[in-house]
Amino acid sequence: MSVTPPAGGGPEGGAAPSSTVASRLSTNLKLGGIIAPLLTVVLAFFVGGLVVLITGHNPFDTYKAIFEGTGLQWLFPWTTGADRTRAAINLQQTLILTTPLILVGLAVAYAFRAGLFNIGGQGQYAVGAIVAVWVGSSFAGMPHLLHVVLTMALATLAGAVWAGIAGLLRAATGANEVITTIMLNYIALWLGFYLFQLHGPLQNDTQPDVPISNDVVPSAKLHVFWGDPELQGLHIGIFIALAAAVVYWVLLNRSTKGYEARAVGFNPEAARYSGIKVGRTYVLVMGTCGGLAGLAGSMDILGWQFHLATNDLQASTIGFLGIAVALLGRNTALGTCLAALLFGALVNGTSVRNLDPAVFDPELAGNLTTIIQGLVILFVSADLLIVWLLTRGRRRRTAPATGGAGETIEVTA
């Protein structure tokens, strides 16, 4: 059986002075270094570029055009004038997408830490969005702050309940959360179709021919602090997401619940033996994850979408991107935020709005994003291979030395 604990959870071996490149690299890996995730990204983009090249397009032009759509050049001081204005607008869009990705990334990451695989981020996000649009479009006279907080709280609760079903089934009957969360994704999707389809219970009051929800009333909209509110400026949700990341860090590393979750993730039997209620931990962890994903749904609804069409539900892949975000971020708070920024930028850079069709068809680019997303997950899951190869190489070289045994990474047992 092979186990590489996520970053930070690895065996705390001493970082003895290393002589070879391989051993230095593996020490970095052990310390949760950034090398493996970076390699993963580079490799994924390289293979994605190969697909572009083979189908007769220029990968360099493509990636350059995508990068220009992300708005990240706003960070460079030499971007000035009209370029800077445009870059600012693009960066706002990137950060708008980063916001829910941080939250769903955390939703997947926390589950991973407890040894659960939450593929259900998409369904939890959808349920959160549905509740957010429902509450946000009702209660027109309510005070602004109260309405926003109430909507977010109910969306969080809805996501928590949705994921809690999977956690409860896992705890009570041992039903595998991979299967149950996939099923809950589809149930959430069809539930949304049912609610917002023509003549559906929550379908728009004034447009009977469009399968769409009512619009969120102004009192429930999140404040836009950067850019023009009319042109989808950046809303304050990004700070809520960053705050959630800080809370996640504290929860995971400085709280009893987080310790229990990690203990269960590391070895459920040992955790049970040491008195941790494993079943309850599963329910709490899944509930927390679902809450984060549900909150992500409300961010999008209250921040920039303001309504939900059946098409939106079908086309949304935010929850699935969360898997790649969490894995690439090695389930850490900071890593998840950075990975969310990367995928937020990628999704925004490949959007119809930002990518020049003359350079590269946005529809192709959207699929390219999906390929890269898949390759990132694939290479992260093969991360074991890298560690294994490196440590094997080192073991051979340092075999005669006696002191080496303590610092080998436990990969095979």
């Binding site: 092979s2 189908t55 996939i182 179709f193 023509l198 559906g200 699929n367 390929i371 997950i377």
Partner: protein, 415 residues
């Protein structure tokens, strides 16, 4: 990420209640009464449907009470699965019967046209059957294959692409199957050689397949879509007029529908009745013991996973060039996951999974016709397979036991 994730897919589903008769043991009378309850419950619903069309709810209520009674007897005697199954089914059937007696005869005859309904059921079940058989072969060898969805999608796109470029449906099928096998080969490398978390790797491959087929589809066909004159897998016409509604159902089925039914038998024989199949299953149950008696665990798993990809791709190719006659992005729309559910529902056995895919196929066929009554209801009905799976996995209706080493990476001796 925890590698125990995959192991638990295997471990989590073990049976707890052993109230079910094992093969070879004669089921006791109470068990048969539970089965009788299920039959009676079904009859209570059936009499209100064409061609019988009893317009009063009273006979159905009487039959339902009988079914509940039989179910209760079975449940009390310890046959929880059958007993509660009969009770729940009886209540559901009574609801259905009530709905049927309340709706107009004209509506009923449009929706419940048995011949058309059965034909549609078989068509909807076929892609699921192929994919679930693929899942069976893979998981019986001990590799969890959550990438069935992606493999189907590869088959669907490359089947259509191949048929278009070669102008032959047969070559289209071959190309589609090869594409599915190629994706499966990657899964095998990750699952077997690299010993990755099989669920994470499978999830990754689903995205890769989704992106790749979407990309190639847009790049090749743009917004026009696949050509209208795409070569199609032919239908088999049978002179079955004398067989009533069964004749209507099977007179014009696609070749691949028949092939899927044959595949169920072939897989059953190969996996459960041959020495080769015994080896496959032993690798899935206890790879260490299998290796000890000289069976190549890695080789067996590679072959099984690649065959699995081919079967799933055949299901996907049926969708594009046997059923819809075009390809669209993400056209499998979760059927790979439903197939996985059917596999669990069917307890990793060919007969069981066929029953499950027929059930899911029937619910799809019915959902397609339900808008006649109520569009809203029809939409909710689409969620039924997922709810059923949720219930099945939760073990309310009874547990499924996967192969013991399903999802557990195998480390060769001496490595």
């Amino acid at each position: 990420m925890s590698s125990s994730t995959t192991q638990r897919l295997a471990g989590a589903l073990r049976p707890q209640r052993g109230a079910e008769p094992t093969p070879g043991e004669r089921p006791p009378r109470e068990w048969w009464m539970g089965v009788g309850g299920i039959v009676v419950a079904a009859v209570a619903f059936l009499i209100t449907l064409p061609p019988f069309e009893v317009r009063s709810i009273v006979p159905s209520i009487v039959l339902t009470l009988v079914a509940v009674g039989l179910g209760a007897i079975a449940a009390r005697a310890g046959h929880v699965r059958v007993g509660w199954g009969a009770i729940v089914l009886a209540i559901a059937c009574l609801a259905g019967a009530y709905g049927a007696t309340q709706s107009g005869v004209g509506h009923l005859e449009v929706v419940v046209s048995w011949g058309a309904l059965c034909a549609a059921m078989l068509r909807y079940a076929t892609p699921l059957t192929f994919a679930a058989l693929g899942g069976l072969v893979s998981e019986r060898s001990g590799v969890v294959n959550i990438a069935l969805e992606g493999m189907m999608l590869m088959g669907a796109f490359f089947g259509a692409y191949g048929a278009d470029k070669t102008d032959s449906w047969f070559l289209g099928l071959v190309i589609g199957v090869l594409a599915g096998m190629a994706l499966a080969a990657v899964h095998a490398v990750w699952a077997v050689t690299l010993r990755s978390d099989q669920i994470v790797a499978g999830t990754a491959l689903n995205f890769v397949a989704l992106g790749l087929t979407g990309y190639l589809y847009i790049d090749t066909y743009g917004n026009q879509g696949t050509p209208d004159n795409l070569p199609a897998v032919p239908e088999v016409h049978l002179p079955t007029d004398s067989l009533g509604f069964i004749g209507d159902a099977i007179s014009d089925l696609n070749l691949l529908v028949w092939l899927s039914l044959i595949a169920v038998v072939v897989v059953w024989v190969l996996v459960f009745r041959t020495a080769r199949g015994l080896r496959l299953r032993s690798v899935g149950e206890n790879p260490r013991a299998a290796e000890t008696v000289g069976i190549g665990v890695y080789r067996t798993r590679y072959v099984a996973v690649i065959i699995s990809g081919g079967l799933a791709a055949l299901g996907g190719a049926f969708l594009s060039i046997g059923f819809v006659h075009s390809f669209t992005q993400n056209m499998t729309a979760g059927r790979g996951f439903i197939a996985l559910a059917a596999l669990i529902f069917g307890r990793w056995r060919p007969g069981g999974l066929l029953a499950a895919t027929l059930l899911f196929g029937f619910s799809s066929a019915l959902a397609q016709r339900l808008p006649e009554f109520s569009a809203n209801l029809a939409t909710l009905f689409q969620a039924l397979p997922y709810v059923l799976t949720l219930i099945a996995v939760a073990g309310v209706v009874g547990r499924s036991t996967p192969p013991a080493a399903d999802g557990v990476p195998y480390v060769r001796e001496g490595k």
